[in-house]
């Protein structure tokens, strides 16, 4: 398939990433914040795959990457990101549940025990 510029995929990825960032700042529920983090991770995955597909490398001369290897590398990154995200979600949600059990309230603005 061709015809879709690389820039389009990157733009989409950038938009999703920014949306996730804004969501982290705006929302007050830790769960929704978590979801926005997942959104960001997915945007990154998309970017990786887009580059893998389009073989874009600015270092043409003296490029240590052989043609085609960066495609694999991109997909490997995505696998690992997914694995990490999975582990992170499991642990993170466990923490949220623990906090909820303790305080019966999850408004992130009220978790300010780090206040200096």
């Amino acid at each position: 398939m061709s015809g879709v510029p690389l820039a389009a995929y990157l733009a989409l990825g950038l938009f999703m990433f920014m949306t996730g960032v804004v969501g982290v700042v705006i929302r007050r529920s830790p769960i929704v914040i978590f979801m926005c983090i997942e959104l960001m991770l997915n945007a990154v995955n998309l970017t990786f795959l887009a580059f893998a597909r389009y073989q874009f490398s600015p270092m043409v001369a003296g490029n240590s990457f052989k043609e085609g290897q960066s495609a694999m590398a991109g997909q490997m990154m995505v696998i690992f990101v997914m694995a990490v995200a999975a582990a992170e979600v499991a642990v993170g949600l466990g923490i949220i549940m623990a906090i909820f059990r303790l305080r019966d309230n999850i408004d992130i603005d009220e978790m300010n025990l780090l206040k200096g």
Binding site: T19, E38, N42, N45, Y54, I79, A85, R101
Partner: protein
Amino acid sequence: MLNLFAAAAAPKMAGFAITGELPFFAALAGLAMLSAVGVVAFNNAVRSALCLVLNFFVLAGIYFTLNAEMMGITQVVVYTGAIMVLFLFVIMLLNLSAPALLQDKNDPKTAVGMTLGMVMFTLVALQVLPGLMSKTEPGAVDGYGSPVNVGRALFTGFVIPFEAVSILLLIGIVGSILLAKRRF
């Protein structure tokens, strides 16, 4: 939003053969963007979660357009099937549907955050995208995304990260079990 993007993109794409892929991609992209916004915008946590599910599905589709079939399937199975299910379980367990719990007061952070986000988007977009508009030909080998190739790479070239990630997952399992114990 979709039209906006198309309208913005269209003048720059003069000289391209507008084949069928572009509108298809445009549709998927638009849906993805809408659902992303929906995750952030809905007050109700369940609705946010469901938007995210939709987003992940759409992303899987986009991965397919990129010829990364293995990734697409993995996206559906792992993200949508496991992670989002877990999210929904926790939301319902914590009974967070009550919107009254999480009313956003008039917080300056909202406006500031959104502004900053838009600024960042513009900055990066302006910087990165213009140079890449011309690249329309994918350079990857056909079939690079097939399970065979991915598996081969995973177990040969990238075996060490693979093992590392598996240990990470083990740690995650142990961690969540510990957290779930009632020892308070």
